[in-house]
Symmetry: C2
Subunit: 134 residues, 2 copies
DNA sequence: GTGATTGCAAATTTTTTGCAAGATA
DNA sequence: TATCTTGCAAAAAATTTGCAATCAC
């Protein structure tokens, strides 16, 4: 638990119990929406409202603790994995599963960098593998 | 114009003037949200409402004419490019630019297929190149 | 003609905001 | 203590739905 507090501090934010709980839930869930977090925590934190969850997630994105990710439904999702990575996505079930494979990330990054593009500066890559999850 | 009508027909939908106009706007814009389409068309089609645009876009997705795409803001975007592809995305300006490069798509597809994954069946890939657009 | 589609209005869902009370460093 | 954060309520934004009139085939 100490680690999360430090992590929040290091990113320049005050480590409130709500923020600690929300970040911890994000670590547990990996990938979640504001209402998933609220539901996840309302046993421990009955006073926590979705407005606060949105505020906190937004401040986490701003300070680099989380990134927003895509979903084919119309909701914002957040992801603790802020690095370039790949994930499987099954549109049928709307499920995301991270696919940690630095070789794939490197393959794509190196390829794009080797193209010598002048009007785009690559920062990170997000490789979505769409298909059917067992 | 005839081609669009046929395309809609072939996908099993009735080719109404609204659908033709919406698909044609999507082709022009490449990547758009429901309100962008509505605004784009309300000069030609004053009666067209955003509810209809949503319905039409949804039916296009259902029949494979469009796919939904990601954005870091909280809106649904639709894309005429339904194939595996890569695109540049600049979070600062929220701009998307398609990057047509079949070699990159093939690189990723072949790599993933070569892994012999048993719990995932790859359908298509969506490679998001995040960074700064000039 | 018949079933699908449109357009309106209204409901629902998701996200954001204002502000007073409370907590953090 | 000074500033930032929370929580409530309410507003705003985005998406979906019900239904009568209309249209495409």
């Amino acid at each position: 638990m100490e680690t999360i507090k430090e992590k929040i501090h290091q990113s320049g934010l005050k480590a409130t119990p709500q923020r600690i709980a929300i970040y911890s839930a994000m670590q547990r869930l990996g990938h979640a929406s504001a209402d998933m977090i609220t539901e996840e925590l309302n046993g421990i934190f009955p006073s926590l409202t979705i407005a606060t969850v949105y505020n906190v997630l937004e401040s986490f994105v701003g300070s680099g603790l989380l990134v927003r990710r895509y979903s084919s439904n119309n909701k914002m999702y957040f992801d603790v994995n802020t690095y370039s990575h790949a994930h499987f996505y099954d549109p049928e079930s709307n499920r995301h599963v991270d696919y940690e494979d630095q070789e794939l990330v490197k393959l794509v990054t190196d390829y794009v960098n080797s193209r010598g593009l002048t009007d785009f500066k690559l920062d990170s890559v997000d490789i979505q593998l769409i298909g059917t999850l067992a």
